[in-house]
Amino acid sequence: MADNLFQEDSQTVADRLAAEALIVDVDGFEGPLDLLLTLSRTQKVDLRKISVLALARQYLAFVERAKALRLELAADYLVMAAWLAFLKSRLLLPPDPTEDGPSGEELAAHLAFQLERLQAMRDAAARLMGRDRLGRDFFARGQTHEVTRVRRLRYSATLLDLMQGYARIRTRDDFRPFVMDRDAVFTMEQALERMRGLIGYSGGWTDISTYLPEGWSGDPVRRRSATASTFAASLELVKEGRLEIRQAENFAPIELRKRDQKRD
């Protein structure tokens, strides 16, 4: 490929320069429509009076030159070239009455419309960017005073919510009036019973938490209930003279020891 590129001796230097100028530009084009718009400028006429036939010739010549230089053109440039070749033949040949579809003139008109519309958008974009702009020509307040938002929560409940809530509880009672859901409550009675059984085995000072029943230390609600009842039961046992209790300082662990009955 590279070799071939340097063997284009048949071309004059001027030809090559002209071709290369366009090729270098190819990168700068945003697609075939943009290239067509640029080519149309060489006609120096109102876009509405543009000769689409001439434009098609220019475009095809451009593609030929690019091919001659073995330049790979993107597919859409080639699709456009094929279509323009078709359009050119339509514009040049007398219309075939058996053929359906739009006439060459209609197709040319639409292409001219597309070019004009693209040019109009470019002009509009330029005008837009040339306007007085915020932060460049006019300015917003520099020293803003933020609004202090005071958020207030309000809870709502209707009388119906209340009654339904109550009804929910009472109907549950209808079916098991005296069975309470006390899964999460470890009563003082339970704790006392448990402690009475356990204290016989403890010799030295032991952290009260070791007396918590199994399965009650995970869930915070259950742990709280078990801790409270175990503590209350311990106090009860201290009162009975069967246990000693101590705490080194605030929030330090509470420790228990079996009271030596003999020393009493």
Partner: protein
Amino acid sequence: MTDPIDPQTESLFDAPPMAEQERMIEAILFATAEPITLRELEARLPHGCDPGEALAHLRRRYDGRGVQVMKVGDAWALRTAPDLGFLMHRETVETRKLSRAAIETLAIIAYHQPVTRAEIEEIRGVAVSRGTVDQLLEMEWIRFGRRKMTPGRPVTFVVTQGFLDHFGLESARDLPGLKELRSAGLLENRPPPGSMPRLVEDAPEDESDEGQSELFED
């Protein structure tokens, strides 16, 4: 847009007219993030301007307006008029539905007041979280009643006047009983298997009378 005097068309040596200087200072004070000193103003204005005089004009112009020209140290700034500060606070009220636990606890307190926490737990069948009670206390829908004359003298809860106002009740006795709830279709109409459910009106507890009367003491 207006048609202001273009400073470029002015003679190179003449300062812009005072009205124009005032406009310039107004724009600068508006757009700067910091208060600005006279010296800085002078540096930013076209040559020959008198920012002191222009400021005096501007200050007079804003006299009594919603925004005022104020001196901050030795600098100048535009500030909201002090009496309009209240416009800079925006209170947003968010309404949230009360949790089921809170509604049930509230309902029990309303129907059984005065009621202790242990009693609420017994009726609901689950422990009452501290947060639920605190929330209801904070909303001022419940308050502490008198202590119960039982061992440990536990505190009781009663509903407040605010509660009655919110629910459009004249008294806690206006709360419908179970019979009415049932006839209103709020309860499934099933014959209770054991004892009739306790109705508020005929609640056997001696405290209930006491509680209601307590409610209307204050």
